[in-house]
């Protein structure tokens, strides 16, 4: 709740709206206690007194009634009717929407068709018809305005409810013994409540206007009772001669509706989870770089890509998440390097940092370098990065449905990827696209190029992503869990394909995964990551057969392997540390059963243990341990 107000008041316009609205509402509430004249006493002799006259601060109207008093009482009434209509419409509309969305099927169909019929009438016509049937009067105007707005709420809330009803927690509630009514009240309603409030805050101004409109036509409040609409209606005839009689209520309507709408927009922005999470704040084209010192170029000249002490952090409010805490990696031409780790270990952020693809804000590269083609990609101008992205270094992501554009044919998307970097005619690019599809073994490539992503299976889509990564014959492909979302039989096909392609084309691949089986089958070398740092690297076969870091060893042990039969798994107790609160010393110490006091202090460096770099003071394969074993 406090964070809601904080967010709301960060929006200055909304804050201004809130202040104005609070003043107006306070005045309306206080009206009966203020020393005002009776708003309904007519005194024809004093008609049309100008504003700022003695005794009548805002002047008088055509019957000599005090305008200030009528304005205050009128505002009070208009606000009351507007709010009452909004609450009634929200209550009835949301109830209809929730019931329709929750039960679905036929009841949904019937209810929503009736709502559609109501919506088919122009709103003012419908309101007029309702008032005509019920007779003029403020109460009937309220009913009309509420009824006219019910469909808006019903449709809105039904849409949200349908989304919620299919969530698993609704099923869980049913299985916990809740009936329909209880499920709706305790599970569905709390989740649609923010939407109801958002819808109310954005429509309430509109409803005040509609009520005023009906009163203006003489169908709302009846003389001598004042509300803003009827004041405006009565002043209409004197518009030219005595404009102040119309200006006073008109100005008040303007102020109220403006204030409410500004406030309503602010409430919506503060409550909407998408806005709250910053989804609409657009990330920059390349990750921000803020390095204290630019490191010297690395000595390893064989490597095609060389990552030196790369550090990437996320700065969220006052917290600093050290997602990547100093990574060194060299990738040789034609090599497949596996990066293995659990979620949150920093493997994906490492991969995205290479090409400056980490979203900024909140991501910042705070140190290190990535050398490619004798250039440092960290801090390189956007133009350079862009010319390399997809051309020299290409990515394959986990979910091809999210990375392919749903509205373009896959052939067009491939052709676009080529034309981005090479100035070739469209027909030539299309021909290359078909050729690419063939190279990733897609049957009937010519006709498949005409398909849209949703027409293809998951395995086919991932092949398209691979084809796209290959489009410009890159030197390096960075594959971030490319087979995690696929079935095992399809995964085997995709892995075999990647393996063939890299041998045919001499590609270097950085393969990010959490699966040791996949690493073992595809990768030449593997780097194991934990809490943002590499804890061990080496030849895949050696690391798997003889893991040196306790984390590697225990991670391998807790993965069940096919053919092992029924067994108890060697779980690692506890959780990885949060990267905004990394402990001193070894990040794995808390979960390690070999830890000693020394493990808890200082910065533990990678050191060679049987020829491979290991970040551990007491590695598993250390010669001393061997002897005693």
């Amino acid at each position: 709740m406090r964070s809601f107000f904080k967010l709301l008041f960060r929006n200055r316009l909304a804050a201004a709206g809130a202040v104005v609205m609070a003043v107006v509402a306070l005045l309306a509430l206080a009206t009966p206690f203020l020393p005002l004249q009776d708003p309904d006493i007519t005194k024809t002799a004093d008609r049309f007194i100008r504003p700022f006259s003695e005794g009548h601060l805002l002047g008088t109207d055509h019957l000599g009634r005090d305008l200030l008093s009528r304005l205050m009482w009128g505002t009070r009434l208009s606000l009351a009717v507007g709010f009452a209509a909004a609450i009634a419409a929200a209550f009835i509309g949301s109830a209809i929407g929730i019931v329709a969305g929750y039960f679905g099927g036929r009841s949904d169909n019937i209810i929503m068709r009736i709502v559609d019929m109501l919506m088919a009438f122009p709103y003012i016509l419908l309101a007029l018809a309702i008032v005509a049937a019920l007779g003029p009067g403020l109460m009937n105007a309220l009913i009309a305005v509420a009824a006219v707005n019910v469909p808006f709420f019903a449709r809105n809330i039904r849409g949200i409810t349908v989304g919620i009803v299919h969530k698993e927690f609704i099923d869980a509630a049913k299985l916990a013994g809740l009936g329909h009514a209880k499920t709706i009240l305790s599970e569905v309603l709390p989740n649609v409540m923010p939407v109801i409030i958002i819808a109310m805050s954005t429509t309430i101004g509109w409803m005040i206007l509609e009520t005023a409109g009906l009163s203006f036509l003489g169908l709302g409040s009846q003389p001598p009772q004042a509300d803003l609409g009827s004041m405006l209606g009565e002043a209409r005839s004197a518009l030219i001669g005595n404009p102040h009689t119309s200006l006073v209520p008109g100005f008040m309507i303007l102020v109220i509706v403006m204030a409410i709408n500004l406030l309503g927009d602010g409430v919506r922005d503060a409550l909407d989870p998408r806005l709250k999470s910053g989804a609409l704040s657009r990330p920059m084209a390349a990750t921000l770089v803020d390095r204290n010192r630019v490191p010297a170029p690395s000595a390893n000249t064989n490597a095609i890509l060389s990552i030196n002490n790369l550090q990437t952090q996320f700065h969220v409010k006052d917290r600093v998440y050290k997602a990547v805490g100093g990574i060194d990696l060299d990738i040789n031409p034609g090599e497949c390097l596996g990066i293995i780790g659990e979620s949150g270990s920093g493997k994906s952020v490492t991969a995205l940092s290479i090409m400056g693809l980490v979203a900024s804000p909140p991501g910042i590269i705070t140190g290190g370098s990535v050398m490619y083609d004798r250039k440092d990609l960290v801090g390189a101008p956007y133009k350079t990065l862009r010319s390399y992205r997809g051309d020299k270094i290409a990515y394959i992501f986990q979910d091809p449905l999210a990375t392919l554009h749903p509205l373009y044919k896959v052939g067009d998307q491939l052709a676009e990827a080529i034309r981005c970097h090479h100035d070739v005619p469209k027909s030539e690019a299309w021909a290359s696209a078909v050729h690419l599809l063939k190279s990733v073994r897609i049957p009937n490539a010519e006709s498949r190029a005409e398909s849209f992503p949703h027409e293809l299976s998951g395995g086919m889509r991932q092949r398209i992503s691979i084809a796209m990564a290959l489009a410009n014959d890159p030197d390096i492909i960075i594959a971030d869990e490319p087979t995690t979302a696929l079935d095992v039989t399809v995964q085997a096909q995709i892995l075999a394909l990647l393996n063939d392609l890299r041998r045919e084309r001499g590609l270097a691949i950085i393969f990010i995964t959490h699966d040791f089986g996949v690493v073992a089958q595809l990768c030449d070398r593997v780097a194991v990551m934990y809490a943002g740092r590499i804890v061990e690297t080496g030849e895949t076969g050696n690391v798997l057969a003889d893991p040196a870091h306790p984390y590697t060893k225990r991670l391998i042990a807790c993965v069940p392997e096919l053919g092992g039969g029924r067994r108890k798994l060697a779980a690692i107790p506890g959780l990885p540390p949060a990267v905004d609160k990394l402990p001193d010393g070894c990040a794995f110490a808390d979960r390690c059963d070999k830890r000693r006091a020394e493990c808890r202090s200082g910065d533990i460096q990678l050191r060679l243990s049987l020829g491979r770099p290991v970040r551990c003071l007491y590695p598993e394969n250390a010669p001393a341990v061997r002897k005693s074993a």
Partner: protein, 322 residues
């Protein structure tokens, strides 16, 4: 042996493209008729790839959807969920995504209270005590009770999901991919917890997963699902080591295993059958290296010795039972 679950000819079809008038566009048979017994205290593993009907099957068993044909018997009595409070005490469901299966707007205490209150009608004092007991069983700290779901990691959220299910005190649990959203180190913790609970509380599990190794590690028996049908069922030790159905063999050969060279176990251009337009005969025929003429015309039934059954006209020789 007493039976926990008995499924007789259970099937589910979905109507696709409903129209106001006239026949719908098509019917998808998500689950073909399945006849299956699950003994008390047993863990039956169910494996299959995406779209094979695993989740539909699971949701049928807990009454979240109505079967098209066939019947389900729980503890010798037909499934009857007219009274949700009585039904919830017999069978419960652990969801795949621990985070989306917990209402984000409730505290953990409110989530834990629901089954105790609605299924067992406990008063406030009894509920507090029972929650403490359950939290101790699944090693969760009681300070978690007043927090909201978004404050928990996937592994903790899944423990909370299991705690909620334990509160119902059902003896049969349907576990629908309970560890596939978790990291491997946490996955092992949750699997071990499930194994401990089963021994301690004498539970019956139906363990659904796409991960062959996980299923093999926890199950007594395994059923392999393909395209909505059970194509093979047998003892967990044997099914992947000595598969009889060619599809089971394909699955076993596709799983990435340390030390096995990388080869695609089947042709590179195979596609799954279209559920709206199912092939005649055996659904696996187009991908099968052992297909014979009979497979085109007839749909095979499960057969074989009593230990390992396969729905295949030309099964592989089982090494164990040949």
């Amino acid at each position: 042996m007493t039976l926990a679950l008995r499924l007789d000819n259970l099937s589910k079809s979905f109507v696709v493209g409903k129209r106001l008038f006239g026949a719908p566009k098509g019917i998808v048979r998500a689950v073909h008729p399945v006849t299956l017994d699950v003994e008390k205290g047993e863990t039956l593993g169910i494996v299959g790839e995406s779209g094979c009907g695993k989740s539909t099957f699971a949701r049928l068993l807990v009454g979240l959807i109505e079967p098209t044909t066939g019947s389900i018997e729980i503890d010798g009595q037909p499934l009857n969920n007219a009274d949700p409070a009585a039904f919830g005490k017999k069978i419960q469901y652990v969801f795949q995504d621990p985070v989306s299966s917990i209402n984000p707007r409730k505290t953990i205490r409110q989530i834990m209270v629901a089954p105790l209150k609605h299924l067992h009608g406990m008063d406030s004092a009894a509920r507090t005590q029972r929650i403490s007991e359950i939290f101790a069983t699944v090693s969760l700290r009681e300070e978690f009770l007043d927090r909201y779901p978004h404050e928990f990691s996937g592994g903790q959220a899944q423990r909370i999901g299991i705690a909620r299910v334990l509160a119902a005190e059902a003896e049969i649990l349907i576990l629908d991919e309970p560890v596939s959203a978790l990291d491997v180190s946490v996955q092992a913790q949750v699997l071990n917890l499930l194994a401990d609970l089963k021994n301690k509380l004498n539970l019956t599990y139906l363990f659904i997963s796409h991960d062959l190794a996980v299923v093999e590690a926890v199950s007594d028996r395994i059923a392999v699902l393909y395209f909505g049908s059970v194509v093979e069922i047998g003892r967990a030790d044997d099914v992947f080591r000595a598969p009889r159905h060619p599809y089971t063999k394909l699955l076993a050969d596709s799983a990435p295993v340390v030390g096995r060279p990388l080869t695609a176990p089947e042709g590179k251009e195979t596609e799954l059958p279209d559920p709206l337009n199912p092939p005649a005969g055996c659904a696996f025929r187009a991908r099968c290296p052992r297909a014979i003429d009979r497979c085109i015309k007839e749909v095979p039934d499960l057969n074989g010795d009593n230990v390992q059954l396969a729905a295949c006209f030309n099964p592989l020789d089982s090494l164990v039972h040949a």
